[in-house]
């Protein structure tokens, strides 16, 4: 890979890290407002390290729900990380300790960035750069939000919520390398669209994995 391409991966990783860090601030604010201490909020970001689940978890508890009520929706959102880790087989190599640490870094952004690359070594570099950038900004942002509290306003006023779908679209496009991938992407999007009003949060994204099945079968039949 050329050095300019490598620079682009680094720049992209830092860009995603910064956007995620701003979101982490609003998580910190929300978590403390929901009744978690600053320490608890920071441990959640350090150890759970999966944003959508954390936001859902503190939202349910903040609205007066019990932990038993907050865990299932949070884990439905975290369930896609299992699919991601599986897809990263060629990236997550090494001894048990190495893989145990790598597992912690499996999130939407690190997975999507890894798969924009073709070669395992480039995938691994993109995965690690993105994961480390986000790990830093996510935890610093969480601490800032938890300590500083409100006053930042709604992140939607700055259009922050609209940044992430554009980022994931940008990371999806290079992965659509053939007709099978295009078909799987469109079917996955259709599954999510149909399930979005019908199922709990987290289900549409996970169920979309079925969008790859007909195309895997077609590929097999073509061989």
């Amino acid at each position: 890979m050329s050095s300019s391409m490598r620079d682009r991966v680094l720049k992209d990783a830092v860009s995603i890290g910064l956007a995620t860090g701003i979101y982490a601030v609003s998580f910190g604010v929300l978590s403390v407002a929901a009744g978690f201490s600053v320490a608890q909020t920071c441990v959640m970001s350090l150890v759970t390290f999966t944003g959508a689940s954390q936001l859902t978890f503190v939202s349910v508890l903040g609205a007066g729900g019990t932990a038993a009520a907050a865990l299932p929706p949070a884990l439905l959102l975290a369930g896609r990380n299992t699919i991601y880790a599986l897809s990263l087989k060629s990236v997550l190599r090494g001894g048990p300790l190495r893989r145990a640490v790598d597992a912690h870094l499996v999130i939407d952004e690190s997975t999507a960035m890894a798969h924009t690359q073709l070669e395992p070594a480039d995938k691994r570099r993109a995965f690690l750069l993105t994961a480390v950038a986000i790990f830093i900004t996510w935890n610093v942002g969480t601490l800032l939000g938890a300590v500083a509290g409100g006053g930042l306003g709604d992140p939607r006023d700055y259009g922050l919520d609209a940044i992430f779908p554009a980022i994931f679209l940008a990371l999806l496009v290079p992965q659509v390398r053939d007709r099978a991938a295009l078909g799987a992407a469109l079917l996955g999007a259709a599954i999510a669209l149909v399930l979005l009003p019908l199922t709990p949060a987290g289900v549409p994204v996970m169920a979309a994995v079925l969008g790859c099945v007909p195309f895997l079968l077609l590929r097999r039949a073509a061989r």
Binding site: R8, K11, I16, G35, S37, Q40, V43, V47, T48, T50, S53, F57, A70, A78, G79, N81, T82, Y84, A85, L86, S87, S90, R99, A103, H104, D108, T111, A112, H115, D157, Y158, G159, L160, D161, A162, P165, I167, F168, L169, A170, L171, L172, V173, V176, A181, A184, G188, A189, I191, A192, L196, P197, P204, V205, M206, A208, V209, G211, L216, R219
Partner: protein, 101 residues
């Protein structure tokens, strides 16, 4: 809020990630397996784009996020850097909302 709830979330979230890594260790190592596993993630990411754009909490919501995504898509097509795509999409949504959309 109890530490138990925090630790339960932490443990379960890590367990889900580790399960995928363990599962990956059990599937074959061939080139075709690798290609199949990479196809698996494509519809999931496509779904993520749909949900993040249209999620209205048990409903489909069409708001400033959709035109913002179209702005992003245009810039992706023009091969703009990711930072430009992200800032333009965010700015488009913020402007639309400021204008009352």
């Amino acid at each position: 809020m109890s530490w138990w709830s925090v630790l339960a979330l932490c443990g379960a979230a890590y367990g889900l990630k580790a399960a995928g890594v363990l599962l990956a260790g059990r599937v074959g190592d061939g080139r075709q397996t690798r290609a199949s596993l990479e196809l698996v993630v494509v519809p999931v990411l496509a779904a993520l784009v749909v949900v993040q754009t249209l999620d209205g909490g048990h409903a489909i919501a069409i708001d400033a996020r959709l035109p913002a995504l179209l702005v992003g898509a245009f810039l992706i097509w023009r091969r703009a850097p990711l930072l430009v795509v992200a800032i333009a999409a965010g700015a488009a949504a913020a402007l639309l909302r400021a204008a009352g959309a």
